[in-house]
């Protein structure tokens, strides 16, 4: 997952990486502290690339203009993401360089990119040959050596400063098990001063288990990372994909859940959520199902729930008992529930539902189950 710029910067700043002074603002009526003086940069905190080009970064010459810019940005949707917060930063000046370290997943190598010119148009520098590139083994020492070689096109004393910055940043890349670290611009001055003007950090979700500082950050900022905070707390994936979505999904398997969302969208009905509940990990405990039903019940526009369990190994009779328990525990879920079940123990599942008064409809065929689930929305008779 991609960290928001503010969090990535504060995280690295705690290790001594120099960043421009800044604060996070969630409302427009900010009063910047004395340490933060005009002119300011106002930067929308959204986890997408190309933020500047998309209008997510503005300059403000005064506190009045700063508030005006915040008013413009907060609540705005940029590249499909709503801006809930902006980082307000001191404008800084200096030579603008570019540095990135990224994992080449295909080769299992690292790519180090370095340029004496930073800014929004890195692709253009690459075309002009101004962007140095090196592919090296996934190894801290080799990555630092590569950056040092790439910095040779920069004249001293800036070269030494860039090399120093690259060393610090590559160390951080490895310490946090990142898959991408990009600093653009990397501000450099003749006196050896440098600062990470913008910082993009993508971390490896699978490594969180041994990255306590990243886990703390995500838990502390759960509002900004609801999906990952939920996964840390509950051990499975649940993502609200559309707060106005009409169909709540209770599904297992990431690929099938994504496909279900696509299939519903293709029929003109947005899903409320993505869900990979991992039926194999339920082990007789309905807690995950109860949680998912509760979260779906909170969807303001949810009018139907569709369960899809393609159980390879899990016994459907056991799953059915858990579903009955969970539905009983979440009376606030008042919309029709359709379950598409397939796998071992189907007949037992049907019997379990029957003896519980059939709290949901069961259908073994996925397309027909989707039609059933959509019936309350379309008015069609299933």
């Amino acid at each position: 997952m991609m960290l928001l710029e503010h969090d990535a910067k504060e995280l690295l700043a705690a290790d001594g990486v120099p960043i421009p002074t800044g604060i996070l603002a969630t409302t427009a009526d900010v009063a910047p502290p004395a340490s933060l003086a005009a002119p300011f940069m106002v930067k929308a905190q959204i986890a997408v690339g190309g933020r500047g080009k998309a209008g997510g970064i503005k300059r403000a010459g005064s506190v009045a203009e700063l508030r005006h810019r915040l008013g413009e940005l907060l609540g705005k949707t940029i590249k499909g993401q709503t801006v809930h917060a902006c980082r307000i930063e001191q404008c800084v000046e200096g030579m603008e360089c570019y540095l990135s370290v990224s994992l080449d997943a295909t080769q299992g190598h690292l790519r180090v990119l370095l340029s004496p010119e930073g800014g929004v148009d890195v692709e253009a520098y690459a075309e002009r040959g101004a962007l140095g590139s090196a592919d090296v083994a996934y190894n801290e020492r080799e990555a630092i050596a590569a950056a040092s070689r790439l910095a040779d096109i920069i004249a001293s004393p800036a070269r030494e400063t860039v090399v120093h910055a690259a060393e610090r940043l590559i160390t951080e890349f490895f310490a946090f098990e990142a898959t991408l670290l990009e600093v653009n611009p990397l501000f450099v001055r003749p006196d050896g001063w440098w600062s990470a003007g913008d910082l993009k950090l993508v971390i490896d979700d699978n490594a969180l288990i041994r990255q306590p500082r990243l886990c703390d950050l995500i838990r502390h900022r759960a509002d900004a990372y609801p999906e990952m905070a939920l996964k840390l707390d509950h051990g499975f994936d649940f993502v609200v994909v559309d707060p106005d979505g009409e169909i709540g999904l209770v599904t297992t398997g990431a690929g099938l859940s994504m496909q279900m969302i696509d299939e519903l969208a293709g029929r003109g009905h947005p899903a409320f959520n993505f869900c990979d509940i991992r039926t194999g990990q339920l082990r007789g405990d309905p807690t995950r199902l109860i949680n998912v039903f509760q979260w779906i019940a909170a969807g303001r526009n949810v009018r139907s729930v569709l369960i899809n369990f393609f159980a390879g190994i899990t016994h459907l009779g056991e799953v059915a008992k858990l579903l009955v328990m969970a539905l009983k525990a979440v009376p606030e879920l008042r919309v029709p529930v359709t379950a598409r079940l397939i796998g071992n123990g189907y007949d037992e599942a049907i019997a379990v539902f029957a003896s519980a008064g059939n709290p949901l409809r069961v259908e073994p065929d996925l397309d027909r189950a989707i039609e059933l689930a959509l019936a309350p929305l379309t008015g069609a008779r299933p």
């Binding site: 991609m2 993401q81 994992l103 859940s257 393609f310 190994i313």
Partner: protein, 306 residues
């Protein structure tokens, strides 16, 4: 029929002698039995902590080296937790195992990169991480692909997603179309075997008449596959389903590899690359199943008549 320049190396042989690493754990014990019941030649298990030298009728060894020496195993299915996968691969490779399947979900990328270096240096085939495994239906299963979706037949299956491939194959089996070889490559960004790595053996396998690709947003594997299709002169029909059209940038969807970053990993890029390489790309399961049934199903029928 062998394409020019392609050396036929079978991905796996049906009677391959196979170990289960992590044999005495809950998952290992269960799946060792299920794989054996399916026909896989499970010759033993490895469990460093086990006090018993036998589980469910399988001999259990303390190390892979002992297990390989005693059984002659050349394949291994590692049923160990995510942070133990790297060690399991290292141990299997050191012991001389040539094919290792790791099913655990959640292996850190740094570990996967290290594992990749190990298997590449040794010339070992690694399937995983985060995969339900592979199968030659009717003969062999390494992992836990569900029986309800498996049947011998003319289709080669390459899938990032387990559950989506179960669904698609279940429906194809319902239309009379089973599989010649099914390889789940897993949903992680760094992995032992990628889509393009599986293509050559499917092109040369005389039992494979069509290839079904179950892709999803994120990474560049679909694009790599498209390049391999052009490079190898893919003469077999390829049908692809790519999940995640509605996913927004920067959010990981269950699979660690399923994340769009900028223009990389988008559905548009994958669809364009595969279509240009001659693949048929679908967004609905039903449409893919209908198309495969119409072409591969009919071709099979004609062959049977001839």
């Amino acid at each position: 029929m062998t394409a020019p320049g392609v050396v036929h190396v079978p991905f796996v042989t049906p009677d391959v002698a196979t170990l289960v690493q992590g044999m005495t754990g809950r998952t290992g014990r269960r799946h060792a039995q299920l794989m054996r019941a399916y026909g896989t030649r499970i010759v033993g298990g490895v469990s460093p902590k086990s006090d018993s030298d036998e589980v469910e009728g399988f001999p259990v060894f303390k190390t892979c080296i002992e297990a390989v020496a005693a059984t002659g195993a050349v394949a291994s299915v590692a049923m160990v937790p995510p942070l133990s996968v790297l060690d399991a691969i290292r141990e299997a490779v050191t012991a001389g195992i040539r094919l290792v399947v790791t099913i655990a979900e959640g292996m850190p990328v740094r570990d996967a990169v290290a594992a990749l270096e190990i298997v590449r240096a040794a010339g070992v085939r690694w399937i995983g991480p985060s995969t339900p495994g592979l199968a030659i239906p009717g003969k062999l299963k390494l992992g836990f692909l569900p029986d309800v979706s498996l049947a011998p037949g003319p289709l080669g299956i390459i899938a990032k997603s387990g559950t989506l491939s179960y669904e698609v194959c279940h429906r194809l089996v319902g239309r009379g179309l089973g599989q010649s070889l099914w390889v789940g490559v897993g949903g992680d960004p760094v992995k032992g075997t990628r889509f393009a790595d599986v293509l050559p053996s499917m092109l040369t396998d005389p039992h494979t008449h069509g290839i079904v690709v179950i892709g999803e947003i994120g990474g560049s594997e679909e694009e790599e596959l498209a390049a391999a299709m052009r490079d190898l002169g893919c003469a077999k029909p390829v049908y692809a389903l790519i999940a995640g059209r509605t996913v927004r940038e920067g959010i990981t969807m269950g699979h660690a590899g399923a994340m769009i970053q900028g223009d990389v990993g988008t559905i548009a890029s994958k669809t364009e690359a595969l279509t240009a390489a001659g693949a048929h790309v679908f967004t609905r399961i039903r449409d893919l199943v209908d198309a495969v049934a119409a072409s591969v199903g009919n071709a099979k029928g004609e062959q049977a008549c001839n």
